[in-house]
């Protein structure tokens, strides 16, 4: 075994441990939250706080087991995940920026422009991921991606708002953009 894979295994089991702790915390938080739900059981004997408490308890228990598996040699019966061993985080950041910008801007600049921006940012992330390096910012390419994004988002907007009468926000009240 090379030191590289050993290092990888170490970081994976650290991730597994973190995940287990996360599940445990979530479970405990749910149990605590359940005690704050008033129990008005009526005829049934179990009220609205019963299932939350149960789900919280089972999740806590699962968390403990996940931690135990992580500490005793890693998850059982696990397939090696697809793709690269380490994540390409700068590409991830581009796509995340696109998705969050979309959430922040959709009501102000409208569906079409907001989705166009999200599309171009996501494409930028995916393209740098293909090259596996950040590369210099190619303005021409970015404008081309914006245009393609617009060419997808605009017809989608028209189709859903005009044909199917689904409410999507526009920049203007004309219904076209």
């Amino acid at each position: 075994m090379s030191s590289d894979t050993a290092l990888n295994q170490k970081s994976t089991s650290k991730g597994q441990l973190l995940l287990g702790v996360g599940i445990l915390v979530l479970g405990v938080a749910m149990v605590v939250g359940a005690t704050m739900i008033p129990s008005d059981a009526g005829y049934a004997g179990v009220g609205p706080d019963f299932l939350p408490a149960l789900v919280g308890a089972v999740l806590s228990l699962c968390g403990i087991f996940v931690i135990w598996e992580a500490l005793s040699g890693g998850f059982r019966n696990m397939d090696a995940p697809n793709g690269a061993d380490t994540g390409f985080w700068s590409g991830f950041a581009w796509m995340s920026a696109g998705l969050l910008a979309n959430a922040a801007l959709i009501t102000t600049i409208g569906f079409i422009l907001s989705c166009t921006l999200c599309f171009a940012l996501a494409v930028r992330g995916l393209r740098t991921a293909e090259l596996e390096k950040i590369g210099s910012f190619n303005g021409k390419q970015f404008i081309k991606d914006l245009l393609i994004g617009f060419a997808i988002a605009a017809p989608v907007y028209w189709m859903f708002t005009k044909l199917l009468a689904i409410n999507l926000p526009g920049l203007t009240a004309t219904g076209w953009i």
């Binding site: 749910m30 009526g42 991921a129």
Partner: protein, 500 residues
């Protein structure tokens, strides 16, 4: 004869021009979704759920059903030509189909997949026509305790039996149940886990979770880990089967149908098990095994493809008659029914008979449409594979926005969508199954209501589950499902040790 009359009425509804058009669009969208990697039928139906606010129930159910089994047809094209299955049901097809395509027989593989899907889909639809009303008649007698136990059975199989790790399946199921708890309690109106955020009072939309877990997570995973994976595409040859191909395919189709159908009706979630079983059967029965794994055996494509489609069609039986989804897509379809205020279950055949029979009739029509769409027109779909990956995944994000924003017009939901997407990436990286999350989230609130109703009937006593024969039987089944596979494993490892 009553079934026959109902079915004819169903055909009359399904064959109106507007419904035929919805069926055709559904089949086409489904095929495209199946062909494109990174997007499956569950997420496609989820993204299009907002149309339920405007389109009438019959038309949209016909549309969604078209997407559902259309994707099964399209999925085989990708797995034969690219060796990356478009959806999970085609994983096995990829093994032999890709080998056949590499040795220049892509056309025959595509033909046996499409015709096999048609044969299996049609036979399964006939069986649905015959058995669904019968099961509905029986299921009318089930009360809340039995329903709760049936749902418990679905939870058990989807989390503990399928998948590689019971622990990870349980975590996924309970995260789904936890998401389902957020919002107002249906019985008492009590707010739970909303943290004072008013957007959370109505709960989290199914669309949001499904699109986040499947579409957004897929795109994020691709950018994080799969940037450089290169794909080679096999050449398409003429879509034609020789006489010996037919002779090998026909029995494989029939066997695949027989294996696939029962698996769709039980809450065993998904098509992986029947397709693998069918593949194993074909390999065992083949007289000449030399083609398997080398040049590619046509039976190894024909059987699993038929099993896949039979299972998919059969999932409609528990969905329509019991209201219990046994696959991801069926779970989303249940959500579609719910957004019309229709609760699938034994009464559905009485209360919404016209809708159900139109839906069943549309399955017959859709299968014929898909055969045409997939055999002569296969070249058109293959062109979809030429879309560059960055544009494909980024485009999926636009459609994800339509689905999630269109459902509730809330920008807050788009932030949640991103959070669920990240959760999906983590789950995929650490090999957690995602199906239990969706099933838990959709069935959780229903199961809770049944549980509390059952306990009301029993005046607060849990023994109500033991006193009713059907409910007791189901408890035994749940225990058997939990215990038997483990016991079998234990005994076989013990006897192995004894031999050693």
């Amino acid at each position: 004869m009553e079934v026959w009359n109902q079915l004819m009425l169903g055909f009359a509804t399904a064959a109106t021009p507007i419904n035929l058009l919805w069926c055709l669009i559904g089949c086409a969208v489904g095929t495209a979704v199946g062909v494109l990697p990174g997007i499956g039928p569950a997420v496609a139906v989820a993204m299009l759920l907002p149309i339920t606010t405007k389109v009438d129930a019959t038309a949209s159910m016909i549309f969604f059903a078209g997407i559902y089994y259309g994707a099964m047809y399209g999925g085989s094209t990708t797995s034969i030509l690219l060796n990356t299955p478009g959806e999970t049901g085609s994983m096995v097809t990829a093994m032999e189909g890709n080998k056949m395509a590499k040795s220049g027989r892509a056309g025959a593989a595509l033909a046996t997949a499409a015709i096999g899907s048609f044969v299996a889909g049609t036979i399964a639809t006939v069986l649905v026509t015959l058995f669904a009303p019968m099961l509905a008649n029986f299921a009318v007698r089930l009360g809340p305790p039995e329903y709760f136990m049936l749902m418990l059975l679905a939870f058990t199989t989807v989390s503990a039996v399928l998948g590689k790790s019971t622990l990870r399946g349980m975590v996924a199921l309970f995260i789904g149940l936890a998401i389902g708890l957020i919002g107002m309690d249906q019985i008492s109106g009590q707010a739970r886990y909303t943290g004072g955020v008013s957007e959370l009072l109505d709960g989290i939309e199914i669309v949001l979770v499904a699109v986040g877990l499947f579409a957004v997570a897929e795109a994020l995973y691709a950018v994080l880990y799969e940037g450089k994976t290169a794909e080679s595409q096999n050449k398409l040859s003429s879509v034609h089967m020789s006489k010996s191909d037919w002779k090998k395919s026909i029995p494989a189709w029939l066997r695949g149908t027989a294996i696939g159908f029962p698996f769709g009706t039980i809450p065993a979630g998904g098509t992986e098990i029947p397709t693998f079983l069918s593949y194993a059967t074909e390999k065992k029965l083949a007289k000449d095994k030399s083609d398997f794994g080398t040049k590619g055996a046509i039976q190894g494509v024909a059987g699993p493809e038929a099993a896949n489609n039979a299972a998919v069609t059969a999932t409609l039986i528990p969905l329509l008659t019991l209201g219990i989804p046994t696959s991801n897509t069926a779970a989303i379809l249940l959500g579609a029914f719910q957004s019309y205020g229709i609760q699938p279950g034994p009464q559905l055949f009485q209360t919404s008979g016209a809708l159900v029979w139109a839906l069943i009739a549309s399955l017959y029509i859709g299968n014929v449409m898909l055969l045409v769409l997939n055999l002569p027109l296969v070249g058109m779909w293959v062109k979809l594979l030429k879309i560059p990956k960055p544009y494909l995944y980024a485009g999926i994000l636009i459609f994800a926005t339509v689905g999630v924003y269109g459902m509730r017009q809330s920008a807050f939901d788009l932030v949640l969508l991103y959070v669920i997407g990240v959760l999906g990436v983590v789950m995929r990286r650490f090999d957690f199954p995602t199906a239990p999350v969706v099933v838990g989230m959709i069935l959780g609130p229903l199961a809770e209501a049944q549980l509390r109703n059952a306990l009301s009937i029993g005046e607060g006593k849990w023994t109500v589950f033991l006193e009713r024969p059907m409910s007791l039987t189901l408890i035994v089944v749940v225990l058997a499902v939990l215990v038997l596979p483990r016991a079998a494993k234990y005994w076989s490892s013990r006897s192995n040790r004894r031999i050693a």
